[in-house]
Amino acid sequence: MALLEFHDVHKSFGAVRALRGVSFAVSAGEAHACIGENGAGKSTLLKILAGIVRPDRGEVRLDGDPLHFNRPREALARGIGMVFQERLAFPNLTVAANIFAGRELVQRWGRLDEAAMHARTRQLLDDLHLPVRPDVRMEHVSAAHAQLVQVARALAFDCKVLVLDEPTTSLTDAEVDQLFRVLTALRRRGVTLLFVSHRLPEVFRLCDRITVLRDGACVGTFSTPDTTPEAMVRAMVGREPPERVAREIPAEHARAAALAVRNLSRRPWFEDVSIEVRPGEILGVFGLVGSGRTELLETVFGLARADEGTISVGGATTAFHSARDAMRAGLALVPEDRQRLGLFFNLNVRHNLVLPRAVKHGVARINERAETDLASLQVARLSIRTPSIAHPPEALSGGNQQKLVAGKWLATDPTVLLLDEPTKGVDVGAKFEIHNIIRGHAARGMACVMVSSDLPEVLALADRIVVMRQGRVRGEIAGTAATEEAVMSLAAHESAHSEGPASAGPSAAE
């Protein structure tokens, strides 16, 4: 029995055909996943459901009756609750005001009934076991709690269908567990779930059926027990994943360290960190959010001053006063947040690609021809899919933007490449390509330090894995010997057992 049904939904934005006849049905009481790469049409579908975008053709039916798209709140009024990503909260309003935004409980003449909203919020938060006060401003609520407040928001009014859009991107594993406990409880109450995600392990853990979208069309709907994550990746990408680039793991002590960090401290972020990476080696740095990894990379790259310790590049001890010093010594840092730290959205692809190289060499006069050659070369080498090098980065998908960030740093010919979450928010196909780019450069002798909280990624790429927790290195495991359990037990050791001064500080601060 189909509760929510998409029937032949079409939508174009200008020349871009975002949806080309999507049809699938969500049965009453099931947990249904909708997966696809970035740009497959998931978000357009959600916007149609929320009444923000009107489809060109086709309809969405709830209980057999079509939704009227000329009324934006129709879906909400008819029992479809939507949980959007945490960035869709109002930071300036209280938790209670967030939950009731747009649907405030009012007395006569639109006067807000604050007492009623406060009481209902209290009750909703208690139901979800959320230790958040209703009168706290959203900006003071942690990302994980903010996500659960969004769930509370959807539940504030009785809903038959709960739609979740990438709800776990900013959550730690423990927080994902909490969210899933809540969702499981909701299912027991008979709420139907539509779970939009690209995280396959979570999809397989939660959902009964999976609908795969690719390029705005339905690939198919699969029953979870009858399929595998590998099959779903193939369905999403539409082709076999590319071959892994083969490379030899450099022998232990074969060559001198390309980068050696000794006893480096920057309190309260990290303390007494020593790492070494040889040319051609990929060093994985794994740790949970707040373990001081990002700060370590920033300090090595000269963006912050260390309290103590030394950094040597190619055997020579150096002191960087700026990122430019670090670049001239042969370092490059691909930052985590490409939107904020990685790209200039007011410049085109070519200018983005050549900028760090120009900064490194201090080019005074711009040589258009050389710039164009270099940019075209990088685009070809990394197979960055862009309409042209004159387009702004907006025109690119998330994965290609990430390749663009990597490309602009690789253009500086670094001897040591520092990578911070190189595939965060990137779809599966682009992830493979980025992994191959990293492998390829390592095979040609580049030393790589890769920080990631994606454990399978670290296991797949790294020759050695350093595990950080609360600002300290807790252990090192050879890549060949590493297992998920071994790494996690080092990373997530109960803080009650840990000793050392760093245990008090950094976890709360990131």
Partner: protein, 320 residues
């Protein structure tokens, strides 16, 4: 009590009180002479002139909270005085009808600004910058280097119910501040304004009528600027195209000093009025300091920056 302490308006009141105390002390006269600052007539003067800014600052604060900015109030004030002057002096309309025509001009100004911003998609700064020139220019075209003298047709030494007409501005300002403070904090419309300014995309996804809220903010701002214009025309007895020149920046500064954030989503109507009073006291007291004549603009500028920086430091500490 704790909530009062945390309220942003509290620190604005504290600044205002400190400012008055400072000038009372600094301008303390020699023995036997009258205090030129600390007397009832002077405070009436401060209130009277601050109310022109304060009424418009209520609208400016609402627009800023909604995530926009309105540069047109100075021009709308001037055009309103001109329209009232034309209707009252040239066309011989009664005063109330002339005032209504003035308010209609304000509403129209707000509609034009919001149409440019919401429908045409111009940035608020550009749209209202252009609109500011259009209204100021219209006022000049209508008056042609003349001005309308309303005072000849207004009753001399006009009192309403035993109160001098000089009190019109302050009374209107306080009533409007009260009304809009309530609308912004206790009513669904105000919550919508805060929501749109806080996160416009989220507001859209929450089914909040974003375009309607934005339009209403600019219309309110236009009408309130026109109310300032009505008060100015009556109190000053003039309808003139170059009145209120440059007021828009003082009006925005009042809202900002009163806690409004140009990033949107934050601010208060009461704070904006208090901000206007802070500047009113400065404009009144500085010329009384011997030798300060050439410094007053500089001091006003420094005060804006100091107050906003102070607020940022305090709010960091205040945040829970």
């Amino acid at each position: 009590m704790k909530r009062l302490w945390h309220a942003r308006e509290f620190s604005t009141i504290a600044i205002l009180v400190a400012e008055v105390l400072f000038f009372a002390w600094y301008l303390w006269p020699e023995a036997g002479r009258e205090h030129s600052f600390l007397k009832v007539e002077n405070f009436l003067l401060i209130f009277k002139y601050s109310s022109i800014y304060g009424i418009a600052a209520i609208g400016a604060a609402i627009v800023i909270i909604s995530g926009g900015v309105d540069l047109s109030p100075g021009a709308v004030i001037a055009l309103t005085t001109v329209v009232i002057g034309y209707c009252f002096v040239e066309a011989g309309w009664p005063l109330w009808a002339s005032a209504m025509a003035g308010l209609a001009v304000g509403a129209a100004a707000g509609l034009v600004s919001s149409w440019l911003i919401v429908r045409v998609g111009l940035p608020a700064f550009i749209a209202t910058l252009g609109v500011m020139g259009i209204w100021r220019g219209t006022a000049f075209i209508v008056t042609q280097a003349r001005f309308y003298d309303l005072s000849a047709r207004l009753p001399p030494n006009w009192h309403v119910a035993g109160v001098s007409i000089d009190w019109l501005g302050p009374v209107v300002m306080i009533v409007l501040a009260g009304v809009f403070q309530l609308l912004m904090t206790r009513y669904q419309w105000g919550r919508g304004v805060f929501a749109v300014g806080g996160n416009e995309t989220a507001a859209l996804f929450s089914g909040i009528p974003v375009n309607r809220i934005k339009t209403s903010a600019y219309v309110v701002s236009g009408v309130l600027a026109a109310v300032s214009g009505v008060v100015l025309a009556i109190v000053q007895g003039q309808g003139k195209a170059d009145l209120a020149t440059g007021y828009e920046l003082d009006i925005i500064a009042s809202a900002v000093v009163g806690g409004a954030s140009l990033a949107g989503g934050r601010g208060s109507v009461a704070g904006a009025v208090l901000g206007a009073l802070i500047f009113g006291v400065l404009r009144n007291a500085l010329p009384q300091i011997p030798g300060a004549t050439f410094y007053d603009r500089l001091i006003v500028g420094v005060v804006v920056i100091v107050i906003v920086v102070m607020d940022q430091l305090l709010s960091k500490r205040r945040s829970i």
